[in-house]
């Protein structure tokens, strides 16, 4: 049933292929120099980090980041490969390109047929999946530990020689367009979330949905997709995180075997931090034909994630929105019972962080009451010190959620992959994740008064049809 050989009509993109067929001597020379340069590059020295759990990290000669964390509790390994690219890298007219490429990564590569990646993993009792965000594309799997070579073979094949044929492109377009339409026709409030994105992020890069626009996806050409793959799906823009039961020496040998001969690719320029561009206060009303109850989006623009204030907002987020004991859940859903659904949290896109809240109210009148209730709870932050007991509770919830991310090998692999791209050095990881625990009640009063102001606020009321 499964062919191990590529179909004859497949066009695969191999970073070396274009050069092989080129008649231009200049290209040969460039290639020669590139190869020599790669040869001269060396693997970086391995660095060890002990906390929050032990791991080592280094880079292969081609720039691929490698993070290894041993844990022999169970005979399993989890592997996450992350590429430092997401929807923020898309240009106008290309919204959905990153999402399409994520799907194409399962459509086959030089030695792996369409959807065989899933089959190979599932046949050995493993699980695999992918996720895309604004700035990261993650592919991950958990398998019995003796199947580590299989995963490395599969991942290296699609990193090196993804098939981007017209057939595969059309098939992927159909899949992602189906998914977008299915969500649009079935998910109440989806349109309102997209509209609110446009209100709080005035620029294209941040505001367009991760899944893209239908018309843009339909118009994407194979060459555009290949160019995106060639630019961003390269070792120097990727990290491989391996967590679980393995022998470190053997794992390093296998990683070197499968990944080191993949050309590193050009350096990906860092994303320029755009100014927010938001001018508040902003308030609008929309109608959602799928909604059965009125709702409201409310958000406050906060600081950049690199600022010293950011860790304090993590604790404010836990105080206000996380868990049954959080101030807004307790007030809106339990005490006053004026809402039927509430969700909220911090969201960062390209250097801009917002505290976003979404409330589905019992009826139109209650929308206003919900807004007043939120204002009252925020006012508590501004005018009085948060009692020590409540601050302690918020910190415990933060700590528990953090530790929950370390309970499975896959969670740890994903955690490391995400931090590889967001931190300047992985050695700082323990220090950074523990910063919010140092928050004092007095820090909160100051920040609340500085950031929870009308100029930073956006509101979108959603009415039923």
């Amino acid at each position: 049933m499964f062919s191990f050989f590529p179909r004859k009509d497949m066009i695969f993109y191999c970073p070396m292929k274009g050069s092989c067929h080129s008649k231009q001597p200049g290209l040969w020379l460039a290639l020669f120099l590139l190869v020599c340069f790669s040869w001269l590059q060396a693997q970086t020295e391995e660095k060890s980090v002990a906390s929050p759990f032990p791991f080592v990290y280094y880079q292969l000669k081609n720039g691929l980041g490698v993070i290894l964390s041993e844990d022999d509790t169970l005979p399993i390994v989890s592997i996450a490969i992350a590429y430092g690219v997401g929807s923020l890298r898309e240009k106008p007219g290309q919204a959905g390109l990153a999402y399409l490429l994520e799907n194409l990564m399962f459509q086959g590569s030089l030695n792996v047929g369409p959807m065989q990646h899933f089959s190979y993993i599932s046949r050995v009792g493993g699980r695999s999946n992918a996720q895309l965000s604004e700035n990261l594309t993650l592919f991950f799997q958990s398998v019995p530990s003796h199947q580590l070579p299989l995963v490395l073979w599969l991942e290296s094949d699609r990193m090196m020689s993804l098939v981007i044929s017209e057939d595969h492109l059309e098939s992927s377009k159909m899949t992602v367009l189906d998914e977008i339409r299915r969500r649009r026709f079935n998910e109440p409030f989806l349109d309102s979330f997209l509209l609110f994105d446009q209100m709080i992020y005035p620029d294209f890069s941040r505001q367009h949905p991760v899944t893209g626009y239908e018309e843009d996806i339909q118009g994407l050409r194979a060459e555009e997709v290949r160019e995106f793959y060639r630019t961003y799906y390269v070792p120097s823009n990727a990290v491989l995180c391996l967590v679980g039961d393995f022998n470190r020496k053997r794992a390093k040998e296998l990683i070197e075997k499968y990944f080191e001969s993949i050309p590193g690719g050009k350096e990906v320029p860092p994303l320029a931090e755009l100014p927010s561009g938001f001018k508040g206060p902003l308030s609008r009303v929309s109608v959602d034909p799928l909604a059965s109850a009125p709702a409201v989006h409310l958000a406050y623009r906060l600081t950049s994630p690199n600022s010293a204030d950011y860790p304090i907002f993590k604790i404010i987020d836990y105080l206000l929105t996380k868990g049954k004991s959080s101030w807004l859940v307790r007030r809106l859903l339990q005490r006053e019972k004026i809402a039927v659904r509430f969700e909220g949290g911090l969201e960062t896109r390209l250097g801009v962080t917002w505290l976003r809240l979404f409330i589905v109210a019992n009826n139109e009148v209650m929308v206003e009451r919900c807004l007043r209730a939120v204002e009252a709870e925020i006012s508590r932050l501004k005018t009085a010190l948060v009692p020590e007991e409540e601050l302690g509770l918020a910190k415990t919830k933060y700590l528990a959620d953090l530790r929950l991310r370390f309970t499975s090998t896959l969670d740890r692999a994903i955690f490391l992959a995400e931090n590889y791209f967001s931190l300047s050095s992985l050695e700082e990881i323990a220090q950074i994740i523990e910063k919010p625990l140092k928050t004092q009640a007095s820090d909160i009063v100051g920040l609340a008064n500085r950031y929870f102001i009308d100029d930073n606020r956006a509101i979108l009321k959603v009415r039923i049809k």
Partner: protein, 480 residues
């Protein structure tokens, strides 16, 4: 010419993939040697009041998982009071003599914890996860919930209301409707049918009923408490005993649940769900009334048939014939027996062909000898995925609690892998022929306007509303 040759040699030396890929990339690699692995030992002790306490060690876990099983579920609810077991269990976290429901929530969150309470046909499970430093706080809170529940009338109303809306919402869920109707047939005349109630029946339950159910079934000798994580048995027994020693032993006064029996008659049912875009189909029957060792060859058989995306059902119905979006099978294990279920989602025009194909695949299991290679692959999948299934601490601890509560012991714990590994092909064939000789009843949920043709073809199909009430029967397209 020389220059070209030089470049060629250099390119071969420096980049072996240039003139064709490296050989090792062409085929999937062989696996490394498989490591021998065993589940941690399951140590247990019985406290003076009859409560069974056990631990499953996982030394580096930052959390502890506590699983408390009370072996009383909805089958113990009186005939006229369905839902009583569920309401009683949920009320335990809604207030004690000293703490309000909100205070209990605060305490749980202050431990970095989460508590879930699930009542099924034959058990009630308290699944409690918390940071490892809080074992005393967690046991103290659990003891207050178990030993001093307030059962306030206002909380009963509140729990009843939320359960009412939960059930009402589920009536839009095709999977729920199909499975509930099938189980109503399979559990007819058995106490398990008590667990398949409609939301309107909840109003009959009073506070007095709750108190009486609690008094009768929430007893230590009727319960098993398992702790998973960085904890040992002596520490666990000492602490559990400290907090729960006043839980009074009193022989639980409940009747033993009779075994489930297979249904000889094959029924076909339909529930109309207007605007449903796909057809949901569930088939099944009770295959065994006891948890005998037939379960192991049947697990292998199920894996060959429909246990995963590369099993026969999925590959045939979805990949080869494109008759279904998904098609799987599973085994549901209960204290009184086990049920074999087949589930599929199909496009409406493919219903007849899809159903025929599922039945053809079922017949193949009985009539054709299963190829040894397929059996070995199924065994290998089950054994290899076993540790992955048990990676979440809750899953590992819950399995231990179920093994102890239902007296499954080593066969389903440390000998599980061995039991699957030792299954031989003829044993699978023998079990298939014996157990699958009973017919599987079918429930279809979908938009009736889209499957008119199907009604014409079927000899008899019973049409139910979403409450499970029989509306009429269709015979060869004629309503009767």
């Amino acid at each position: 010419m020389r220059r070209g040759l030089f470049l060629f040699v250099i390119s071969i030396l420096f980049f072996p993939g240039l003139n064709g890929q490296e050989k090792f990339r062409r085929l999937p690699p062989y696996p490394e040697p498989m490591k021998e692995w065993r589940l941690p030992s399951l140590e247990s002790a019985t406290l003076a009041n009859g409560l069974t306490v056990a631990v499953v060690p996982r030394p580096h876990s930052p959390f502890l998982s506590l699983q408390l099983i009370i072996t009383a579920g909805e089958s113990e609810s009186p005939e006229n009071l369905p839902g009583l077991a569920t309401l009683t269990a949920k009320l335990l976290s809604r207030g004690t003599l000293l703490l309000s429901g909100a205070e209990i929530e605060d305490k749980i969150e202050a431990m970095g914890g989460e508590l879930n309470i699930i009542t099924s046909f034959d058990r009630t499970l308290f699944s409690f996860r918390f940071l490892e430093d809080y074992l005393d706080d967690a046991l103290s809170l659990l003891s207050q919930m178990i030993l001093q529940p307030a059962f306030a009338s206002a909380e009963l109303d509140s729990v009843r209301r939320s359960l009412f809306y939960e059930l009402l919402e589920k009536k839009e869920n095709a999977d729920f409707l199909a499975q509930r109707q099938l189980l109503r047939w399979l559990f007819q005349g058995h106490p398990y049918q008590q667990g398949l109630f409609n939301e309107d029946l909840l109003r009959r339950v009073s506070r007095r009923d709750v108190l009486s159910f609690y008094d009768r079934h929430y007893r230590p000798e009727n319960s098993v408490l398992v702790l998973g994580g960085n904890v040992n048995l002596s520490q666990a027994s000492r602490k559990v005993s400290h907090y729960l020693n006043t839980w009074k032993r009193e022989e639980a006064n409940h009747t033993s649940t009779p075994p489930l029996a297979s249904k000889e008659e094959r029924l076909i049912g339909f529930i109309d769900l207007p605007r449903a875009k796909e057809i949901t189909l569930v088939m099944g029957n009770v295959l065994s009334s006891r948890l005998t060792n037939d379960i192991f060859p049947f697990l292998v058989l199920n894996q060959v048939f429909g246990g995963s995306p590369h099993s026969r059902l999925f590959m045939n119905l979805r990949e080869t014939r494109q008759l279904a979006y998904i098609a799987f099978s599973e085994i549901e294990i209960f204290k009184s027996g086990w049920v074999f279920l087949v589930q599929a989602k199909l496009p409406p025009p493919a219903l007849s062909a899809g159903l025929k194909e599922i039945e053809r695949e079922l017949n193949r299991l009985v009539q054709e000898k299963l190829p040894a290679a397929e059996i070995e692959q199924a065994k290998s999948f089950l054994i290899e995925s076993f540790p992955l299934d048990l990676e979440p601490l809750e899953a590992l601890t819950r399995r231990a609690a179920e093994v102890l509560a239902f007296h499954l012991e080593e066969d389903h714990w440390n000998r599980w892998v061995e039991n699957v590994l030792n299954i031989e092909a003829n044993r699978v064939t023998e079990v298939a022929a014996r157990l699958l000789s009973v017919p599987l009843s079918v429930v279809i949920v979908g938009d009736s306007r889209q499957i008119g043709d199907f009604f014409q073809q079927v000899d008899q199909i019973k049409v139910y509303d979403r409450n499970g009430k029989l509306l009429y029967t269709i015979s060869k397209g004629e309503e009767k």
